[in-house]
């Protein structure tokens, strides 16, 4: 039981703000993998994710003295990282992605599902129908084709698994708006995965 407690993020942040470089590098070591993964999910590109990773910690270093501890350090860091990734994504000219609208659920005039139960369940089997590499490519493609507003909320809530309240704080939204955007994203991506699974069967 005599294990020394790891310093908290907030302790490290306070030391780093006072030009304690090892404390800053300890924060980098603690969060770099999560920031890279987040940036890749938001930009769908390895190079953009790398640039956003560098930019994030550069800004963290510059802005640490203004971090007042109103949020948790991790929430503040996620906000810096999300903004860096979005700037990076916007800075690169892209082919316009075909939107996922066609994959929204369809209903008949009675408000009942137009698809069969088998068709409706197809998305659940997509990871058995596609090999890992292809599914990884298609997953990034699906994220790229989401509306921007839905993508940010979905990535933070469902892929990074942050609480709705924390996502709301990061994006400057009400929790209800986060839930709504995440729900819309899930509906579109569920349909998209289902179509992929059916095409490969």
């Amino acid at each position: 039981m005599a294990v020394a407690a790891e310093p908290s993020d907030e302790d490290l942040a306070a030391r780093a703000a006072g030009a304690d470089e090892p404390a800053f590098e300890a924060l980098v070591a603690r969060y770099q993998a999560r920031v890279y993964r987040l940036a890749r999910r938001l930009t769908q590109d390895d190079g953009d994710a790398q640039d956003a990773l560098q930019e994030t910690f550069l800004q963290v270093h510059r802005k640490l003295s203004s971090f007042r501890g109103e949020s948790r350090f991790s929430t503040w860091l996620y906000r810096v990282a999300t903004n860096a990734a979005l700037m990076q994504r916007r800075s690169r000219a892209r082919r316009p992605a075909e939107p996922l609208d066609a994959y929204a659920p369809r209903f008949d005039v009675y408000g009942e599902h137009a698809a069969t139960p088998e068709e409706l369940l197809a998305a659940s089997a997509v990871d058995e129908r596609l090999d890992r590499k292809r599914l990884a490519e298609k997953a990034l493609d699906g994220l790229a084709r989401l509306p921007d507003l839905y993508r940010e909320a979905f990535v933070l809530r469902d892929l990074e698994e942050l609480e709705t309240a924390e996502v709301a704080e990061i994006l400057g939204l009400e929790p209800a708006a986060v839930r709504q955007r995440v729900h819309r994203a899930r509906l579109l991506l569920r349909g998209y995965l289902g179509a992929l699974a059916e095409r490969e069967s």
Binding site: R40, L121, A122, D127, A136
Partner: protein, 79 residues
């Protein structure tokens, strides 16, 4: 009990239902509908699987060379 709950209106409530945010009677309406609706049962299963599938498919680790170049980059900008 509401008799007008259809697949389409139930799905609008799905995210809030899964987070336990709905009033008890509304949740009960959804459960009654879903119990008799194989389409909604299938839809909800795939809706719930969607985040996990995409999370697994986009999980990456930081390449070691990137880790090293990040540290070099940050040190060069601070010196």
């Amino acid at each position: 009990m509401r008799s007008d709950l259809k697949c389409a209106s139930g799905i609008e409530l799905l995210a809030d239902y899964l987070e336990g945010l709905l009033a008890k009677d509304v949740s009960a309406d959804i459960e009654t509908h879903v119990a008799g609706c194989p389409r909604c049962t299938a839809f909800i299963a795939s809706y719930r699987d969607t985040p996990r599938i995409l999370r697994d498919a986009t999980a990456v680790t930081l390449p070691p060379d990137l880790e090293a170049s990040l540290l070099d980059f940050l040190r060069s900008r601070r010196s």
